[in-house]
């Protein structure tokens, strides 16, 4: 099938005595929003870490759009068109919001390495315009010249989302993108993510908030203790007794 964007096959990952991922197989179709849910410690973030090259799997492979990602370095994976929002926001503190977004845009425009020390940032009106437009999309425009250190956790996450979106990735990996957000902001983010979907971006979203999951997901994979225990459409998952059990047997939520 040619419209599989991400193909994870037989991935295993062990941390000491803990089997964090066991025999994970996942196929993600182009343009779809794929949710991965599961109790705390299920291995969801680990799965994304394997995809973006932060962790190397013990066995198995990850193929994105015909490229084998396993063994590639993080920047190479990003340059292929994979962007990620982290569970704990990873942004550039000490810089302003607009600069954060500009840096992300520059990576897309100029590539992994680009050395033009005599080029002025100031003259790049187009870049700034694009960055501001993106900030407006996530509702942070009024804070554009603030330092990111002062942002709330939810705002940091929205900023990170903006940094990913401005790169127009083919695959967007979202690790709990709405954690720490108010209901209002969560709904805004859902709207934003829905809009991107219309543009055909493929997404993998990890979420504890079922409202978010059921509003966005086309397909849901349920992880528990490193293994996939269920897969299906939102309706199928909602009624699945195994899922209920995993959540009740697991932690809160």
């Amino acid at each position: 099938m040619s419209d599989i964007v991400l193909d994870v096959s037989d991935v295993n990952k062990r941390f000491g005595g803990l089997q964090a991922l066991s025999n994970i197989n996942l196929q993600i179709e182009a343009g779809k929003t794929h949710a991965v849910i599961g109790p705390n410690g299920a291995g969801k973030s680990t799965l994304l870490n394997v995809c973006i090259g932060r962790l190397a799997p013990d066995t198995g492979s990850v193929i994105f759009d015909g490229h084998v990602l396993t063994g590639k370095r993080p920047h190479q994976i990003n340059q292929l068109g994979v962007a990620r929002v982290f569970q704990t926001p990873e942004i550039f503190l000490d810089l302003t919001l607009v600069q954060n977004v500009e840096i992300a845009a520059l990576a897309k425009r100029d590539g992994a390495f680009h050395f033009r020390p005599f080029k002025s940032m100031f003259k790049d009106k187009e870049l700034t315009g694009e960055a501001e437009h993106m900030l407006e999309d996530v509702g942070l425009l009024r804070l554009k010249d603030e330092h990111t250190g002062n942002l709330s956790r939810g705002d940091k996450r929205r900023l990170e989302l903006a940094m990913c979106l401005i790169q127009h990735p083919r695959l967007l990996l979202l690790d709990e993108p709405t954690a720490g957000m108010s209901r209002h902001d969560t709904n805004r983010t859902i709207d934003l993510l829905k809009r991107i979907k219309e543009r055909g971006m493929t997404k993998v979203i990890i979420e504890h908030d079922m409202h978010v999951v059921f509003s966005l997901a086309d397909w849901i994979t349920v992880l528990a203790q490193g293994a996939i225990i269920a897969e299906g459409t939102p309706d199928q998952i909602r009624g699945n007794p195994k899922v209920q059990e995993a959540y009740l047997g697991g932690a809160h939520v």
């Binding site: 920047h75 550039f92 810089l95 520059l106 050395f115 020390p117 080029k119 002025s120």
Partner: protein, 388 residues
């Protein structure tokens, strides 16, 4: 602590003004530094040379956060290369500088490539190890090149191939570095260094305003994010390392231009530490901070270290005899040989109270003044954000 190492948005017009003022200030230094007794060429050019050294160091440390403890090695390499250029080819200062910068860049490329495999304290230790290696080798195996403890000096019998081909073999006396016939001594030599300082500052300003500079700052803030955002961080760091090595090479060759002699003591770890002090004292990551730091340290070194007991007793002469004597002996601890004590105390005070260096102090002051002025007028809505 939100640092003031922010990437200041600036307009080209504002930058032009900065350059104009900077140029004027540097070129008139002999005049306005006269009242504090710092307006003799020897000290002035030291300000300029160490200013260049610190500006370059700041491009690495201030922008990327990588603390090198071995930059004096490039200073020494620049000096040796320049003196060799004088000896073998020509007394032309520009050639010597070009060669000094080039050789320093080569070394920086190799040393940087190796040291940048690690970050933080391990990076610092690696650079220190390299510099110490260079220092010790200059005294041992490399003596044919460095002339060991006697230091590398010019000789009447040096080949100076280019000079002899152009000017003939006439010269009997030891020549001095020149710029197309203009001998670089005294104030001429200072002005030569001053022009180099202005150029060096201009390049640094450009880097600070470029996407490249912004990326370096972002790397200092979160290197992981940089990688997941699609940047290959290693080459960026290496380029910053090489640029700062080239600045050190330039500073080193200017030392040779102002005094055509190169000794290994220039590469000692204390010299590497000194440029770290300069940068932190003035404000790492700021445009002007490292320059201030360099000037202050060099000023103290020259003025304070030269003070002696009789001068101090004179200073306190207005006091009753016994008291003057006592005060003089106490302050003697802080001057002459003891000037390092003054430097140390100053450094500690800055690091504790102004972690962003003297520039943070200036920044805070201007912010306070601005706030005062604003509160006098309209109600201040978007208050000027303080630096902490």
């Amino acid at each position: 602590m939100a640092s003031i190492t922010e990437f200041n948005p600036s307009t080209p017009k504002k930058d032009l003004l900065i350059m104009a003022v900077f140029t004027a200030v540097v070129l008139t230094a002999p005049i306005w530094l006269a009242p504090i007794g710092a307006s003799y060429p020897d000290l002035l050019q030291r300000f300029a040379i160490f200013g260049i050294f610190a500006i370059g160091f700041n491009i690495l440390f201030g922008l990327t956060g990588y603390l090198s403890f071995g930059h004096a090695a490039f200073l020494g390499i620049g000096s040796y290369s320049a003196v060799w250029m004088f000896k073998l080819f020509s007394m032309n200062a520009l050639l010597a500088m070009a060669f000094g910068i080039f050789v320093a860049a080569l070394f920086a490329l190799v040393i940087g490539f190796i040291c940048l495999r690690r970050s933080g304290i391990y990076f610092a230790i690696l650079t220190l190890a390299f510099a110490q290696m260079a220092y010790n080798m200059a005294y041992s195996v490399l003596t044919p090149i460095t002339n060991g403890e006697t230091a590398l000096t010019l000789d009447v019998a040096d080949p100076r191939i280019i000079d002899r081909a152009i000017l003939g073999d006439a010269k009997e006396a030891l020549p001095s570095p020149s710029l197309f016939g203009l001998e670089l001594t005294g104030f001429t030599s200072f002005y030569f260094c001053a022009v180099m300082l202005i150029l060096a500052f201009w390049v640094s300003l450009k880097i600070f305003r470029s996407p490249f500079g912004l990326k370096l700052l972002a790397m200092k803030s979160n290197q992981n994010r940089m990688q997941y955002t699609g940047y290959n961080t290693k080459p960026y760091l290496l380029v910053a390392f090489v640029i700062s090595g080239m600045y050190a090479g330039l500073a080193g060759s200017l030392m040779a231009v102002t005094d055509p002699l190169a000794g290994a003591e220039r590469m000692q770890w204390t010299a590497s530490g000194e440029v770290v002090l300069m940068t932190i004292l003035g404000g790492a990551g700021t445009l002007f901070g490292p320059l201030f730091g360099a000037a202050i340290i060099k000023y103290f070194e020259n003025i304070f270290s030269a003070l002696n007991k009789t001068q101090l007793t004179e200073v306190f002469g207005f006091l009753p005899d016994g008291m003057a004597e006592a005060l003089a002996s106490v302050s003697l601890l802080f001057v002459g040989e003891g000037w390092h004590l003054t430097l140390g105390i100053m450094f500690m005070l800055v690091v504790i109270f102004l972690p962003g260096g003297l520039m943070e102090g200036i920044y805070r002051l201007t912010a306070r003044v601005k706030r005062k002025r604003e509160s006098g007028g309209a109600v201040s809505g978007g208050a000027v954000q303080p630096s902490e």
